[in-house]
């Protein structure tokens, strides 16, 4: 019986930043052997981004990089040098999968595109992921997920109205696209298992992410209606939104509540002590029509409650509610704890840090964060020496020539 779901799959991973590394992490945490090819001449930008262990910057102490590169090995090559590309070509026959996330021209210019690499490994699966895809007028668009989240419509639908945009935190689309690219990659591996044929996957972060906006796109393309930002307004629930609770240690606290029918509204009134049966809010339709008044009424009552206590009371009465949690709260959340979400890994230079675990759990072959992320070039000797059979002197020479760097 296999211990891990994709044990035995081998991936040569040139990807950097978010989408590519998160895609290969799905496989690495589930048993695949993933070798990340990096370069100290062109660092993965996450290596120079916070958070850092003890808030001290260093290329081997970014927990941001470490988080997306668990369970992987790392080697370093300056791909602008022919000798480095020769080493890549010696590694490709080993690989079931090559992944890269440069702007489209890079691998082509190095002669490391799919057409060349498949000559070395005919059943190779190669996944290229970039912002806007390998073809088209904007294929070379440079960028990060923050910008892609704006371009693919998520920023616009985040706000109280059109004049007050409130974008989601971070590089939102970097966390939409990998679930699509990992699915495509796993399916392509299965197709190869069945048929023996590899293939090339052209993944556009933009095109994958737009699936999370599909209903609004279909609506516009059919009727011309543009989905607009509308705070927490809902056509399905009333009340619906975040309501202010009692402050805690000088910090404001909020609770999210969604009421789906009149019975839940009555239950909520009873929990909050909203007396009488205010005729303005009796039916769902009335509550929708007077949403602003309703919100201010609810706020005036939630203000007296502790957010966690109120959650227990509302849920006990059958009303959907949960505190609006910040990142400190997440680490104390009993549900994430019970799921075993948090992992503590011992990293070669950072020591022990906390990491997010997997968002799913398999009963028989559960994945896990098998090891901390590599420090830059941590596995150079193991891969170039052990796997390719280079002598210590040859490796030393390649280091001196800044090929292994």
């Amino acid at each position: 019986m296999s211990k891990f779901a994709v044990e035995g799959v081998k991936i040569l991973d040139f990807a950097w930043v978010g989408v590519g590394p998160i895609t290969t992490k799905y496989l690495a945490d589930n048993g695949a052997e993933v070798i990340r090819v990096e370069s100290s001449t062109r660092l993965d930008v996450l290596r120079i981004a916070p958070p850092w262990k003890d808030a001290r910057p260093g290329i081997n102490s970014s927990q941001f990089f470490a988080s997306y590169n668990s369970s992987k090995k790392g080697i370093t090559l300056d791909l602008s040098k022919p000798a480095a590309r020769d080493l890549v070509k010696r590694l490709v026959p080993w690989a079931d999968v090559v992944v890269e996330s440069f702007t489209p021209k890079a691998m082509r210019n190095w002669g490391l595109d799919y057409e060349h690499l498949r000559e070395l490994r005919p059943d190779l699966i190669m996944l290229s992921t970039c912002m806007q895809g390998q073809t088209g007028p904007n294929a070379l668009y440079p960028g990060f997920g923050q910008l892609m989240a704006a371009l693919s419509g998520f920023y616009y639908i985040s706000g109280y109205d059109e004049d007050s945009p409130c974008p989601p935190y971070g590089a939102y689309s970097d966390f939409v696209a990998p679930r699509f690219s990992a699915s495509a990659l796993l399916a392509a591996l299965d197709y190869r298992r069945r048929t023996g044929s590899g293939q090339y996957i052209d993944m556009s972060q933009y095109e994958a992410s737009l699936h999370n906006l599909a209903p609004a796109l279909i609506d516009y393309l059919a009727t011309g209606r543009v989905l607009w930002p509308r705070g927490n307004a809902s056509d399905r629930y009333a009340p619906h939104g975040a309501y202010r609770c009692a402050d805690e240690d000088g910090h404001e606290r909020w609770i999210a509540i969604a009421v789906r029918d009149d019975a839940e509204w009555r239950a909520m009134r009873s929990v909050l002590g909203i007396g009488g049966d205010d005729a303005r809010f009796a039916s769902m339709k009335q509550r929708h029509n007077a949403a602003a008044e309703l919100d201010s009424l609810v706020n005036s009552f939630t203000r007296g409650f502790n957010a966690y206590d109120l959650t227990a009371k509302l849920q006990g009465a059958g009303v959907a509610a949960y505190p609006v949690q910040n990142c400190v709260d997440l680490h104390q959340d009993e549900n994430l704890e019970a799921f075993g979400f948090w992992h503590w890994l011992d990293h070669k230079e950072m020591g022990t840090c906390v990491y997010e675990g997997l968002e799913h759990r398999m009963s028989r072959t559960p994945g896990t964060l098998r090891s901390a992320a590599p420090v830059l070039g941590q596995h150079n000797e193991e891969i170039f020496g052990g796997m390719l059979g280079l002598s210590a002197a040859e490796i030393e020479k390649l280091k001196k020539e800044n090929v292994i760097i």
Binding site: A49, P50, P51, D54, A55, P57, S67, G133, A150, G153, Y155, Y156, Y160, P165, C166, P167, Y169, F175, R179, F180, A184, L189, D190, S197, I201, D202, E207, A208, L210, H211, N212, A214, P215, L217, I218, D219, L221, A222, V226, P229, G231, N232, G241, A242, R260, N326, C327, V328, H331, N335, L336, A338, F339, F341, Y355, E356, L358, H360, M362, R364
Partner: protein, 419 residues
């Protein structure tokens, strides 16, 4: 002909809005996805808005988008006859994805343990709002609840106003896509040793994962991000992410160093052409400009960031989103329009790649354009795409054809309300 990618595999899809996207992705990849819904239709068919605001089981835009390409059969799970049919189908299936309240399927004899006895190869994926063991495992759910519980809501909004969600709820979509990935991982294990398994998807964890590792900031830096409207970053080093322009907003990443030095320099040179740049900006070595990096800023850093943001704001104000985007594409500046669905629909890159596909919806008497392939595969393209099914559209094909029930048996099941 379906895509060859997952051709020949069958998925039973009993997921509502907590995971309909899983089945949609499988259908795109060529699997036969059978949506099993109550005789009156899955609750997700009632999610507004509706096409042309006319309610109906085939008109909900959520259902049109996320049940596309599936087959539909009906089964009233309160009826023992219908339960038996679902159990019989599960014996023919490779995958099952569902999002019922914990314990419900067990209570009607359709839990993983029971189904695996007949079909040990089954990969059964359960989508749960909070996992299967914590105190909230049976909590009532709505998408906004996960957005709050997972930490994204806290960081969206303006100080002094409530935290917000997106105007198209996202948590169920993340969980659905996670169900697709994890089902495929379990599939690989099964293809090696012949045994399926039970997969639990945790929707709360799916949202925590979207936070770009912000979870580690309190522990490593003793700081955490609060909602600050168009700004991001910690209090001492916040950056403006969104700027107003003539017809909306744009977003740009003002950074120096390896990440943004070249881009910021190009932006400053463009501003200089139009008389918007200050002298210090033109002379600045942006490649080595890394003020603070979430650490303490100097007064000079504060001045530079504020002067830059101020002038950038004025510069963009006179241009449309399109003009700004075109100008930045040419100059390789890290920038994007805050696009509406109208902007996206008109985007030349998407049209050059033939992204949108037009699908005949005979159920609606019209054709609809929809997002197409989520990836372009050279040998086994994703698609072709098909419309969402009508409620029970494939009862005859599946109950008759696949399970071999006679016409009169099907009529009887229909009469008793089982299907």
């Amino acid at each position: 002909m379906p895509s060859e990618l997952l051709k020949g595999f069958r998925m039973l899809d009993l997921a509502d809005e907590k995971g309909a996207l899983a089945g949609k992705m499988f259908a795109d990849m060529g699997a036969e996805v059978i949506k099993i819904e109550p005789p009156r239709g899955c609750a997700s068919r009632t999610i507004p808005p509706f096409l042309e605001d006319l309610p109906g089981p085939d008109r909900g835009l959520y259902a049109i988008a996320y049940h596309a390409g599936k087959k539909s059969i009906t089964a009233n799970l309160e009826s023992p006859d219908a339960r038996q049919l679902v159990a019989d189908l599960a014996a023919t299936a490779d995958f099952m994805v569902e999002s019922f309240a914990l314990g419900y399927l067990d209570s009607i004899g359709l839990g993983y343990e029971a189904l695996a006895k007949r079909n040990p190869r089954l990969v059964h994926t359960s989508i749960t709002p909070f996992g299967d063991s914590g105190p909230a495992r049976s909590y009532k759910w709505a998408d906004i609840i996960t957005w709050a519980a997972g930490g994204m809501m806290y960081m969206m909004g303006e100080h002094g106003k409530p935290p917000i969600q997106m105007s198209l709820p996202q948590a169920g979509l993340h969980a659905g896509a996670e169900a697709a990935v994890s089902s495929l991982l379990a599939h690989h294990a099964r293809e090696r040793d012949g045994l399926g398994q039970h997969v639990i998807v945790n929707m709360q964890a799916c949202i925590v994962w979207t936070l770009m590792n912000e979870q580690a900031m309190p522990i490593l830096h003793g700081d955490h991000i609060k909602r600050t409207g168009v700004f991001t970053g910690s209090e001492d080093a916040r950056r403006q992410m969104v700027y107003k322009c003539k017809d909306g907003h744009i977003s740009t990443l003002i950074a120096g160093g390896a990440i943004g030095g070249a881009s910021t320099k190009a932006l400053v040179m463009w501003m200089k052409e139009k008389g918007f740049a200050a002298d210090w900006m033109v002379e600045k070595d942006w490649a080595s400009w890394v003020p603070g990096m979430f650490m303490k800023l100097t007064d000079r850093d504060r001045f530079e960031i504020s002067d830059l943001e101020d002038r950038i704001g004025k510069f963009f104000l006179a241009m449309t989103k399109k003009e700004v985007y075109e100008g930045t594409l040419k100059r390789r500046i890290l920038l994007a329009p805050v696009a509406t669905v109208a902007d996206i629909a008109a985007d030349e890159q998407l049209s050059a790649r033939e992204y949108f596909v037009e699908i005949d919806h005979d159920t609606l008497g019209r054709r609809l354009k929809m997002p197409g392939a989520f990836a372009k595969l050279s040998r086994t393209p994703v698609g072709p795409f098909a419309r969402a099914p009508k409620v029970g559209e494939h009862n005859q094909e599946i109950y008759g054809g696949s399970l071999g029930l006679s016409g009169s048996k099907i009529a009887e099941l229909r009469a008793t309300g089982a299907i």
